[in-house]
Amino acid sequence: MPGKQFPSFAAAVADIPDGATIAFGGFAMPGTPFNLIAALAEHGARGLTLIANTTGGAQQPRMPDIGMLVERGQVRKVICAFTAATRASDVLPFTKYYESGEVEAELVPQGTLAERLRAAGAGIPAFYTPTAVGTELAEGRETRVIDGREYLLEYALPVDYAFLRARRADTFGNLLFHRSQRNFNPVMATAARIAIAEVEEPILPAGAIDPDAVHTSGIFVHRLVEIPPPPAGLWPQKRQERVRP
């Protein structure tokens, strides 16, 4: 079994083929694999299906996001909880590509997105959820009444690659997340054939993390890249608060 440490972000994403399905951790700044996204842009794979909470671009300063991969023409489809901004005055960079039909999108409630990824990792092919019943998203779809309440059938969402960002890792691939860095990262790791983590601190020897404290077991994590200090490495920035227009 070869070691899991890769020398660069470019090396860690080098084998990603055109047409791959990739999930990206992150909710706002925390836990977003900025460096791997930038490497994928550089790599140039096309026809990708991308899964994340949002396509990005709503917050400033703008960091590498799915919208940038869309702008570079690398993306066929996105699956996410936001294809447009929630504020009427905002416009996401992604929106115009979607409106024009250049890129497909599947809009999924955030909890359903998390659960579909979890299901993929847990060998559950489908499940029922109360979310979105009675809305436009449920139109024409299979529902079922259980104990008097109506539920929507949802399917697992497996992915080829997951891009993660963690605070700490050991050589076995065990990951620790700091605070709300955790978000989608653990479930995306379990849903992926190959999970790649960018890691903020120097990789620890196996055994350095308390087995009771591990957030994501190394059995789910295949590649690790240490993030260099800025400016070579990308790190969360303090958000610039927008002035309400």
Binding site: F27, Q110, G111, R179, S180
Partner: protein
């Protein structure tokens, strides 16, 4: 509409909603106006703020210079943690939501109907929208409270007989705080729980698209 200036400020709307939280409640705060509730003084009530991204037990917005850039609320703002806080991943966070542990979710909205329907994920133009965690929260929290401006920027009512925009969930809204007061969807119309300071019933009636009921 000259009464609007005398109504609740943004923070006052949040404070008014926060005053309704019961002792021991687990409260989910959505992006925008609702996040202001975590700055409200809740006195000696034990309130646990939950954020959809897996933070259980957060507190006020972090003071400038004291932000942890890896700790945010639903709106991406850096917050603080209160004693007893815990962090879980996204699937576990929404398990908490769908599992019925959230006593109330507070959300913003574009429209709310007298029958308790509400809309906050698509503004009408174009395809797609921004659902985020709103549909999970609306379908599964024990109560849905809204904080919203009473009218649109062009002056059209947001409290309406039936939603024109695609709904987020049906029949779930229990309480609405606007700049003009506090309202309850009551089937045929909205019940006025309270008027904001300086706001008269006529002004509310003029700004509301559905009847006001007793």
């Amino acid at each position: 509409m000259s009464d609007v200036a005398k109504g609740f400020t943004r923070q006052q709307m949040a404070d008014r909603i926060a005053a309704e939280f019961g002792d021991g409640w687990i409260v989910n705060l959505g992006v925008g106006l609702p996040t202001l509730c975590s700055n409200t003084d809740i006195g000696d009530r034990n309130i646990v703020y939950h954020s959809e991204n897996g933070v259980i037990g957060y507190g006020a917005i972090a003071a400038p210079g004291e932000e942890d850039l890896n700790l945010v609320n639903a709106g991406g703002q850096n917050v603080t943690l209160r004693p007893g806080a815990a962090v879980v991943h996204h699937a576990d966070s929404f398990a908490i939501i769908r599992g019925g542990r959230i006593d109330v979710t507070v959300m913003g909205a574009y429209e709310v109907a007298a029958n308790g329907d509400f809309a906050n994920w698509r503004i009408g133009r174009g395809k797609g929208g921004g659902i985020g965690g709103a549909m999970d929260l609306a379908a599964c929290a024990r109560r849905v409270f809204l904080i919203m401006e009473h009218v649109t920027r062009s002056g059209a009512p947001r409290l309406v007989p039936a939603c024109a925009l695609p709904v987020t969930a049906r029949g779930v809204v229990k309480l609405v705080a606007t700049d003009l007061g506090l309202f309850e969807p009551a089937g045929e119309g909205f019940r006025v729980r309270e008027l904001a300071p300086g706001v008269g019933m006529d002004a509310v009636r003029a700004a509301t698209g559905a009847p006001l009921v007793a």
